[in-house]
Symmetry: C2
Subunit: 330 residues, 2 copies
């Protein structure tokens, strides 16, 4: 599709633009490609016809189009080793064996965000399909209990229960025993149903204050934590020149605050996926690089959000490094 020189030219323009954020002129390139600026201009205008380059105005230098970035990422980009300095920075996190997986990921992503000037997002997997493996109830004081639910995958969730009326400890114990017997093995998102159709009729027969108790447990067990979302380094990303006006920044901040939009980032495919501009469903001016991970039975997605003009090779190397080291230790 593109000949050798055209490919080189596109590579140079994309990489130069990524570095400088300024439209690339023909003159700037002729030294590198050993020909005159006029020749470059001819080639450039071909790449523009193909839709890989764009001008910001009629007499400006060239800028990669969305399609141009896509082509670059798909056909030109070469995988690159993480450079020593960056690796060193991450190593201190990797080697800190006392970190749990969650912390390892979020700390690494904090560093990555700083190194790349991108916003890091960590989406913890929802545990809706986990199954209950144990329910424990601990009294705190007269009217408050804590119910703890542990799932087969090691997810823990707890709820404060308030029981306003006086209920005998025995009643509570009986109810908990029943619940324990009946809901173990149930998926978290099915617990409500089981409580209503299986547990309720039975405790109604055996437990005196069954209504109060049932209600307390029902509300506690039907609203489990949604998947967790953490975000760091929005400030880093917003320093980039593409976000140089107030309205653009406001727009991006609004989107980051919109749970629905952020939730959509969750990834199904394995490995690293790159979404550019309109492919992101987030904003035409950004690229999102996503990676699903799975380690120690936990899974989730990490993503980096930033301008389309990002160092794709570096970002990929970083994410791969994080994934590698996730398996080993933590």
């Amino acid at each position: 599709m593109l000949n050798d020189r055209q490919t080189k030219l596109l590579k140079i323009i994309v990489e130069d633009y990524i570095k400088t954020a300024r439209p690339v002129s023909s003159k700037a390139i002729c030294d590198i490609l050993n020909c005159s600026s006029a020749t470059i201009r001819n080639e450039m205008s071909y790449l523009e016809e193909t839709g890989l380059l764009e001008k910001t105005h009629i007499s400006s230098g060239r800028v990669p189009s969305e399609k141009g970035y896509r082509y670059y990422v798909d056909h030109i980009l070469e995988p690159r080793e993480l450079n020593g300095e960056d690796m060193l920075k991450l190593q201190t996190i990797v080697n800190n064996s006392s970190l749990m997986l969650d912390d390892y990921i979020s700390k690494s992503m904090e560093i990555v965000s700083e190194m790349t000037n991108l916003t890091a997002i960590v989406l913890g997997k929802s545990s809706k399909d986990n199954c209950v493996s144990k329910v424990e109830v601990v009294p705190i004081n007269e009217h408050n209990l804590i119910a703890i639910v542990i799932t087969d995958k090691g997810h823990v969730e707890h709820k404060n229960l308030t029981i306003k009326e006086n209920v005998s400890i025995n009643d509570i114990k009986q109810t908990v025993d029943l619940i324990n017997k009946m809901i173990i093995g149930t998926q978290l998102n099915e617990v409500g149903k089981v409580l209503e159709y299986e547990v309720k009729p039975i405790i109604a027969r055996y437990v005196k204050q069954h209504e109060v108790l049932y209600n307390a447990f029902y509300t506690a067990f039907t609203d489990f934590a949604k998947e967790s979302v953490t975000m760091t380094g929005r400030k880093n990303m917003l320093m980039q020149p593409e976000f140089n006006n107030a309205d653009k920044i406001r727009d991006i901040i609004s989107k980051f605050e919109d749970k629905e939009i952020v939730d959509k980032i969750e990834e199904n495919d394995n490995g690293i996926n790159i979404y550019i501009g309109s492919e992101t469903e987030f904003d035409d001016d950004v690229t999102i690089v996503k990676m699903k991970y799975e380690a120690n039975g936990e899974e989730g997605t990490i993503a980096l959000v930033g301008p389309k003009r990002m160092e794709y090779d570096k970002v990929i190397a970083l994410l791969e490094y994080i994934k590698e080291n996730m398996k080993e230790g933590n």
Copy 2:
């Protein structure tokens, strides 16, 4: 200090500026105060001498200074009832009895943020001074356990423990029993010490694989969750005209992302406290209204952050309404 007319004038200027975000001219006021614009100008220049008003440039109208807002809040502001419409919006949250306190607060604050165009921050109280009331350990698979710590105030915290070598269930049980006996009643931030100086020597004697176990528990029990911080409605606040340029917004966003700065918001005094401009330790252009709460044994601080030009009376009324309704039900 200020005579009647001066007080009225300051009140009018502050409130007009809060409403319109434009410097207030003498002409705009003379109708309200029944005198000529020249008279107003004389009074204005007195208020400027006193430091209560400022000009944005030499021939502009007047704007309240930081001191002016302070004076307004301290001496002029009249407490106001929450208007019906706003109350109605909050009522749906208040009446939803299935909400836990945490959710009640965060949902209310989301609404308040929208109604006021301010950023809402909810700082959950750190539980460092809670005392351990129960430790429970649940095995998940061969190498993973979950340790659950419950405090006297009903705070629950859990950790995944990974034990790489093979350790007998009996050893684990013994260790947990010992830990349970020895650390109950200890403050969370003291647990590390107790483990090291009291538990360690004992398990060293009685438990075979004591080193592996000790290390696993030690790392799990010395890093408890910091206080939780949630923030909503940054976008609302950033829409205000005082944040009309990219750098200002970036600056504010950076501060919101800086944990140290945000942590400082935590309040010790009871009731509602208002910090204006330089008093905030956050940014000279913002006001922070803070309120400490305590209900159901939980405590924390909620805060609203926005431009100094905020509707102080409304904000106070809203926070008070939230506090009132916190005690009653949830």
